[in-house]
């Protein structure tokens, strides 16, 4: 019996393999001068999860883009962000979004959160040859699990080793500083607003010490992307909601620079 697959990736690998990420074959040598995305953080709170990402893309020592969006809607109950090569990351996320939607339409049911995380792991693994040539990308995946009534976070390395975090996680060049910041501020009883605040504050700390992570740009009014996933589904914060959070952090830091 060959009823056909519910996976868009598997379907594409049969019908149009040239459209899959990583299908261009080997490159002659390491590639360095391409845009990179930097820091993403995710923080759980009772009943959901917040993901936030800075807006900077770098190319070597240059700032390639100030308003890049690295946190995306994956489906109605999950979100995904990436750090690493921007072109590869954007393509990975686009395929992942179609993969989830495709399954949902064909099967008339959504995948479990674990299954979504596993599909993403398979896609990261597919990128391993490119990663070894310098085009590495790692995603951060977070979503609401209705079976547990909780937010869950999944992170990956370039070889697609998946690990789950139930508290907070960060990826990218500024992740060391972001995690240090979250370590001091995370509590198990955060509200959604608290979680959004400490996520943005972790990005602020990352931008403070990592040149590749962009801080809030108050002159151009470019603020981190913040998204929340709860039992009500995915919701991206508007700039008008992020702005007061950023303003409050800057005001607090101005009076107490230690932060």
């Amino acid at each position: 019996m060959t009823p056909g697959t519910s996976s868009f990736t598997d379907f594409l690998s049969q019908s149009a393999p040239h459209l899959l990420p990583g299908a261009r074959g080997g490159l002659p040598g390491p590639v360095t001068e391409v845009a990179h995305g930097t820091t993403i953080v995710a923080v759980t709170f009772p009943g959901g999860v917040i993901m936030a990402g800075d807006r900077r893309a770098t190319q070597g020592h240059m700032i390639a883009q100030r308003d890049v969006e690295k946190v995306h809607h994956a489906d109605d109950f999950s979100c995904v962000g990436y750090a690493g090569t921007a072109g590869v990351g954007a393509e990975l996320i686009r395929l992942f979004q179609v993969e989830l939607e495709h399954y949902e339409k064909i099967e008339g049911a959504t995948l479990s959160l674990d299954a979504k995380a596993n599909r993403l792991a398979a896609m990261v693994k597919g990128n391993l040859p490119m990663a070894l040539q310098g085009l590495a990308v790692v995603p951060l995946f977070a979503g609401y699990d209705p079976d547990m009534d909780a937010g869950r976070i999944f992170s990956y390395d370039i070889a697609a080793a998946k690990s789950e975090e139930r508290t907070y996680e960060s990826i990218g060049s500024g992740s060391v500083f972001a995690k240090g910041s979250l370590k001091k501020r995370f509590r198990a009883d955060l509200t959604q607003a608290d979680a959004a605040r400490i996520a943005v504050e972790a990005l602020y700390d990352a931008a403070d010490d990592d040149s590749a992570t962009g801080g809030p740009d108050t002159i151009r009014r470019l603020y981190p992307i913040v998204a929340a996933v709860t039992s009500d589904g995915y919701r991206r914060y508007g700039d008008d909601e992020v702005e007061p959070v950023v303003t409050a952090i800057i005001a607090d830091r101005s009076t107490s620079a230690g932060g």
Binding site: L12, S15, A16, L19, R94, V98, E101, H102, K105, I106
Partner: protein, 241 residues
């Protein structure tokens, strides 16, 4: 020239296949696709809550079918694959119902001509536009014929009777509850063979499958209404009438 044993002329073959497919489709219950102020409503008489006749295809596109389940399910899956591939290759905005209707027409036409048994299905592909003037509804039959419909269309068993009722009561720009009332009324008029012909059939949330393309929604505009939400909407239609 002597004819080979068992020869049938092309005309005869087409006639036989058409008759066969029509008979198969006539056995099934009807599906109504009807426009309302904010989109397109799909209403099917379907006692099963899981074996759907109505389905989302893409952001603004949905599908309804009658006939043999395995055959239209095959077409539905192929449609989702085709549209998802196009959206991935180009952009979400470049996915159109016309492309899908053309693909279905070609597939059904080829199956009708080349295989011994034609598909016993009838399909509607609909796309909701930014305004009701841009709404598109295509009706496809078992032989690959395609028709562009305005306002409403009925497919399946007693589609002629259902269409007559729809023609009488459909009003452009009607609100959702009224569109549902018109659709349910039309479906009640037709009594599928095998059911008591006394005209006392009541269609409720238990034997109706309802979906809609709602142009006020963001991105994926298809939505199913079932269970209590459908019961409430049906209660509204009762007071509206």
């Amino acid at each position: 020239m002597t004819m080979p044993f068992g020869y049938a002329s092309p005309e005869q073959q087409v006639r036989d296949k058409s008759e066969y497919a029509r008979k198969g489709i006539a056995r099934g219950r009807s599906v109504v696709v009807i426009t309302y102020a904010d989109g397109i409503l799909f209403v099917a008489e379907n006692p099963s809550a899981t074996l759907h006749k109505i389905s989302e295809i893409y952001d603004r596109i949905a599908f309804a079918a009658v006939g043999k389940y395995n055959e239209f399910e095959n077409l539905r899956t192929a449609g989702i694959r085709l549209m998802d591939s196009r959206g991935y290759m180009y952009d979400r905005r470049d996915v159109t119902s016309r492309a899908l209707a053309n693909a279905y027409a070609q597939t059904l036409g080829a199956i009708f001509t080349e295989s011994v048994k034609p598909y016993e299905v009838e399909i509607v592909v609909a796309e909701v536009g930014r305004s009701s003037d841009d709404d598109q509804i295509y009706r496809l039959t078992f032989d690959g014929s395609i028709a562009d419909e305005r306002g409403f269309v009925a497919i399946g068993g007693a589609s002629d009777q259902v269409t007559t009722s729809l023609k009488e009561h459909h009003r452009d720009g009607q609100p959702l509850a009224e569109a549902l009332r018109v659709a349910v009324q039309a479906l009640t008029v037709s009594v599928p063979p095998g059911l008591p012909q006394n005209g006392e059939r009541v269609l409720t949330e238990a034997n109706l499958e309802v979906g809609m393309l709602d142009r006020t929604r963001a991105r994926r505009q298809f939505r199913r209404i079932a269970g209590t939400a459908l019961a409430e909407l049906l209660a509204q239609t009762a007071t509206a009438s």
